[in-house]
Symmetry: C2
């Protein structure tokens, strides 16, 4: 099978239409039911699969860069009487466990990117639920700022996963209902077990939707609200920057982008991910940055890394250990960081930094062991230092040519899912030292160990053995235990809604996805749509 | 098989010795290896099983009530050169999935009870690791305030679960290492994958232990520190209250305590849990309260409920839905609440309230659906109102005789695992209303619905059908999906270390406990101790 690709463009969308009208955009879901991502199921009732969600992720991303004048986005359906039936059940029940888990993670990241666009870029999202809004369809609406439901006596919002499928509403639904919409938890319990869902006044009273609107004035009222939201956000940039296609050379064991290369060794179940620093000096003002557009190093390198991570997750399931390397000149990385930091009031500079932040969160959430390796020629500085700070461990050769250098971007420009900076997450025991550490440097390998950046320092005599043994040992351990361990260690400190979506909800969903009551021959997910009733093992755990 | 019982007494301990010396206690783990809780494995190297942990939970509880003069507790081992090897692996690998999950949950609750004794009652715990401290042994040490490790050139602390067993250190280990001990997360990664563990100066430098001490002065130095800690906590009560055995009449389908009754209907997979309010007026001063001792209603009713919950978790695995009822006089419940609240500076009154808080947290953490039902004769008031607030739903008959009444104890005396009061967890959307609601009442069923206490109100005509259908529907759903859903909805808002132990860590552990890489015929947990190497499916999820 061809590898799964994550790049697309509105002109190639098969399931979404992106319509622009001044500073309001409409994202119209109109799924082609006979165009599933892989053959074997029909995408009825605006249900979605990975292909549909890749387009959505692309649209959300492009709206920020290419259409920054847009201040409000209406998400609606192009079908009569159905908004979306959620993730396609036959796709789910026919998928492997790893695919299901990675599919859910990707869709969760897409929904968080919608919330990020709203919070950080002022692009407000309205869900215009013009028909039945079920399961993942309602979870998509939950990711929007406001939810409007048509009041036609039949269209309801629902999370029917538990009663119908024996799985969870795992695309953030359970978490967002109580943590974001702040629906009372006893009502959330009723709602999440009611297959037919809730409509009308009760949906409003319980906070499941913001308003119900009659069909006769549904479109007009939603549009009016979108116009008001777009106007309320203050002045917006007049025009955007095109996200040109990534240039990538795909070999059997390699992916070569312009600034990122991935080398896969399937024998050892490892991949090297090599990130190149910039080769040219940064632009000196926003105008020059805009002229660079998608060629701006920070934008391109993190777009490439993002694409590479998605590739590794879906196409290289057995590749359990990523060796993160950097190559280039630290001073030039720092110059780019400094330039973007100085321009951060400019919308494009800010979008570039926000995109890097999302990519780094995707890295944190990647269920692979991450070992960063620093040798002469590396450039773990500023924005690229985050790769070392995201890693489970960092190995550094004790050599004069190896240096680690913080920049002003390490202090909080790239927050993790639970809101902490990666450096703070390493200094929970002495948070007052973080500012000092970030204002210091460049650090030698030994000094970087003390600064909380480097885990293991080895001299030239021991280096090869030290690194080889560490990688071999890691690659020999149970991949499941490592996934659970890494998910537990990467997020020290308090949790937020976003981190709970992955920590609490997804962990439980992954458990449920293993259980015979869902996926066994007589499980509810397997039997959905068939005349037989599921048969449960009633033991409660 | 006889049902598992949770009551014991120091005189009957087989694995622990409780030694008292003024205001310092020693809890000496000296596991009888040939006395496993169920036949089939040998408890070598001070490894533990449920029987060992039931004794520990009992000791921690009794120290608070019976030995309140104790200000410091030294947890150590009675074996040469081994502190504890952790949970017994052969016990784990031979256990069913539900038993493993419930065993881990109980041991987690016991470790949190140690932290609760330290934080709330000033009984400080010192782990005196006088030998090898591995896995669950180190996790027990992590629950203590301070950890001392013998410096003998060989004794190490370790979490070998991931490298040796393919499972997680799931008794809070991963969470406490980074969240409590605040070990840098890259070092935690190294530590949790190093089968042989870490000893000596490095263990101190990384924060894994507080100090290392030579064997020659280990006991003396630990004792000295314990004496200092006990003295530093200020004056303590001179003598305690005996926790007399619970009186319980066990039938095939019933458990009848003095204030709590459990009626099990295995056909419908439901149990009624009926909690009786007090029949007599409360004591009017601490002296009178002490004379009542273990007969004090609040103490006894929550001890009984705690015992009943443990019974249901372990002995009635198929009983997925608990119907929570109260019977009695609300005014008398409120009088008891008011009396304890007024006496809360008294150590015994405070311990009673803290014990009730722990029981209510155990209720929140019980993986069974909880529906409270209020009919005439019920007394959902104050401390018993928490049962309704802990429930996934509350059904109330619309009848003049049904009332819900808050007391001063609902405001924060019984925090959930993540620190929120149960009432606040229902009003995250309008937290400013909580104080008003709590100062109001008694509420009719309808008013209680508006106050966030009651989910469904029905009149006499609909009542029977409404309740019957709701219970039948709930009992028909996938028990796994319900467990995951309830765990997600019960804890809205930010998470803390304690809630992460159950939410993030345990959810991942339960997932790992299902995976063939751990529990399959060639899984690491199954093959431990045998000459064969485990064989892994390398797919990463």
């Amino acid at each position: 099978m061809d590898p799964i690709g994550f790049e697309t463009h509105p002109e190639r969308y098969r399931h979404w239409r992106l319509q622009l009208d001044g500073n309001v955009a409409r994202l119209v879901l109109d799924v082609q039911e006979n165009a599933p991502f892989v053959p074997g199921y029909v995408l009825k009732l605006n249900s979605y699969d990975l292909g549909v969600d890749i387009e959505l992720a692309d649209a959300v991303q492009r709206l920020r860069f290419e259409q920054p004048q847009v201040g409000a986005v209406v998400v609606t359906s192009g079908k009569e009487r159905v908004f979306s039936a959620g993730a396609n059940i036959h796709m789910l029940s026919g998928s492997s466990h790893p695919f299901k888990v990675n599919f859910c993670k990707f869709t969760n990241e897409t929904r968080l990117s919608i919330e990020d666009a709203s919070a950080m870029s002022g692009q407000k999202y309205l869900a215009a639920c013009n028909g039945t809004t079920a399961g993942g369809g309602y979870e998509l609406a939950l990711a929007c700022d406001e939810i409007y439901l048509v009041d036609d006596g039949s269209s309801a919002v629902s999370l029917p996963e538990v009663p119908l499928l024996g799985v969870l509403p795992g695309t953030g639904g359970l978490t967002r209902v109580v943590d974001k919409r702040r629906v009372r938890r006893d009502r959330a319990d009723v709602f999440a077990t009611l297959a037919e869902g809730i409509r009308g006044k009760r949906a409003v009273d319980w906070g499941l939707v913001d308003a119900i609107l009659p069909r006769s004035r549904f479109d007009a009222a939603v549009h009016e609200r979108a116009v008001a939201l777009a106007a309320g956000g203050g002045p917006r940039p007049a025009s955007g920057i095109a996200l040109t296609p990534l240039e990538v050379d795909r070999g059997r064991d390699t992916l070569r982008y312009r600034h990122v290369a991935v080398h896969i060794d399937r024998n050892s179940r490892q991949a090297r991910v090599v990130v190149q620093g910039p080769r040219t000096a940064p632009p000196t003002d926003p105008e020059a940055l805009r002229r660079l557009g998608a060629d701006a190093w920070t934008l391109m390198v993190f777009r490439e890394l993002d694409d590479a991570l998605c590739h590794l997750r879906f196409n290289e399931e057995h590749c359990g250990l990523l060796r993160l390397e950097t190559q280039g000149d630290s001073a030039t990385v720092l110059a780019w960081d400094q330039a973007l930091h100085a321009m951060r009031q400019d919308w494009f500079a800010r979008e570039i930094l926000l995109q890097a932040a999302r990519t780094l969160r995707r890295l944190d959430l990647t269920a692979r062991s991450l070992f960063a390796v620093a040798e002469p020629g590396s450039c773990f500085a500023g924005s690229l230092l985050e790769l070392a700070l995201a890693a489970d461990r960092t190995y550094a050769l004790d050599d004069e040519a190896v240096r680690f250098t913080p920049s002003s971007l390490n202090a909080g420009t790239f927050p993790m899912s639970h809101g902490s900076s990666r450096m703070l997450a390493r200094w929970l025991h002495e948070p007052e030292r973080v500012a000092d550490i970030l204002s210091g440097g460049p650090y030698t390998a030994v000094a970087a160990e003390a600064a909380g950046i480097v885990t293991v320092v080895a001299d030239a005599i021991d280096w090869d053995d030290e690194v080889r043994v560490a990688f071999e040992e890691r690659a020999s351990m149970s991949p499941d235990a490592l996934t659970g361990m890494e998910a537990s260690l990467r997020y020290p400190g308090a949790e937020t809604m976003a981190s709970k979506v992955f920590g609490r909800l997804s962990a439980w969903q992954n458990w449920v996805f293993q259980r015979p009551n869902a996926v066994g021959e007589r499980g509810a997910l397997k039997l959905y749509g068939r005349p037989e009733r599921p048969s449960f093992d009633w033991g409660r755990t």
